[in-house]
Symmetry: C2
Subunit: 227 residues, 2 copies
């Protein structure tokens, strides 16, 4: 990790990622690498795990309800966001709204499948891919999240919602969408796709050993449990 110029975390089970790596020398090395400018990327569970407050697991649905989302400690690369994935495909707006209503300092990021949020050192988020990134800003939220009980729906009023397809950028500090910049957009998309393709090829090459099937099976069990 000390020599890596890019780190990519695969999917599976973010609680496994955070509980195996979090707080270890490996976790610290990933954090250090990120601090010195190494690109850290992840898909599915690997995307959720980058946040300080990690969406660990929860239930589906568009309406926010009490006890819908469970948050735990992530790897700490992004301190001001909570990341959810398979967002449109598994209908996870409800649980993202629930977390942001309870913790308005966090910006909720919901990533559709085949879609990425590229966040640079200035906290500018760039969307690339086939779907959209949903951003939930709870700055002005009025809620009864603190007094809802059981699994009842909670009141969330005044949440600001942004749904941004490929090419759009969002300033996570100012919490607003930025004007479209076509030239920059294509350059970033090309750069990112090239880098990710290289990383995936490399990971695939390294993964060709006897235990690949065994690992795949174990991963599948994990996924069903809590991805």
């Amino acid at each position: 990790i000390k020599k890596a110029t890019g780190i990519f975390m695969t999917g599976g089970n973010q609680l496994r990622l955070s509980s195996v790596i979090g707080g270890t020398k490996l976790g610290a090395a990933v954090l250090d690498a990120h601090g010195r400018g190494v690109v850290v990327a992840g898909t599915s569970a690997g995307a959720s795990a980058v946040a300080t407050h990690m969406m660990a697991f929860g239930s589906s649905g568009a309406t926010p309800k009490h006890r819908m989302a469970h948050v735990s400690v992530g790897l700490g690369l992004l301190v001001n966001v909570v990341v959810d994935q398979h967002f449109e495909q598994r209908t996870r707006l409800g649980r993202l709204l629930a977390v942001v209503a309870q913790s308005p300092s966090l910006i909720g990021l919901g990533l559709d499948e085949d879609t990425a949020a590229v966040i640079d050192a200035n906290d500018i988020l760039d969307v690339i891919g086939r779907g959209s990134v949903t951003i939930v800003d709870g700055s002005d939220v009025i809620t009864d999240a603190f007094q809802t009980t059981g699994h009842k729906p909670m009141m969330v009023s005044n949440a600001r919602l942004h749904s941004l397809p490929s090419g759009y950028r969002f300033d996570l500090r100012a919490r607003r969408v930025l004007p479209l910049d076509d030239s920059k957009r294509e350059r970033i998309a090309q750069l990112a796709q090239g880098r990710i393709a290289r990383m995936v090829r490399q990971a695939a090459a390294e993964g060709r050993d006897d235990r690949a099937l065994e690992r795949r099976r174990a991963r599948h069990e994990d996924q069903k449990a809590s991805e």
Copy 2:
């Protein structure tokens, strides 16, 4: 209809409702009745049809996309809203966001199943029932809805989202949630439940004739097509 003190429209196919009733003497009579203070209620397709701009049909999903929602002329009882139903159960946020982004003068109302929005003469909306009413306010929306093509995701930024469970009220003119009023809440819920129960019993009694099964079959076909 001229002597009715309450009108209840069942579910099925809102395009059938609007194309059979809209623009006829029956449609005008319903509108007149509403004007003189008669309570007009509807479930499913019957709820969508009350608006001037009616959500006719569309596709599911949480992310707004071009060509996702089709709007047509409704019965005209509510001029400033567009109503969608089975909201959480069929994941219809995307199409509601798409309509509101294209027409920010409309307030989007998404009704979960077993949940009602009771709107009084002052445009105060009261939520009763098991789920929530989702309200989308596009007053400050920034969008590229006018230039998206095909079935691609559209950019919608700064949509205000409210998710209100039973007991909460929303001022549709001021576009803001109102403080909780427990005494009023219970009174309205009791009144509404009593009235609706009576109407349903009456409708059930009147419906006991030879052609009930035939009608139910026809309705089922309609539902699959476009409810």
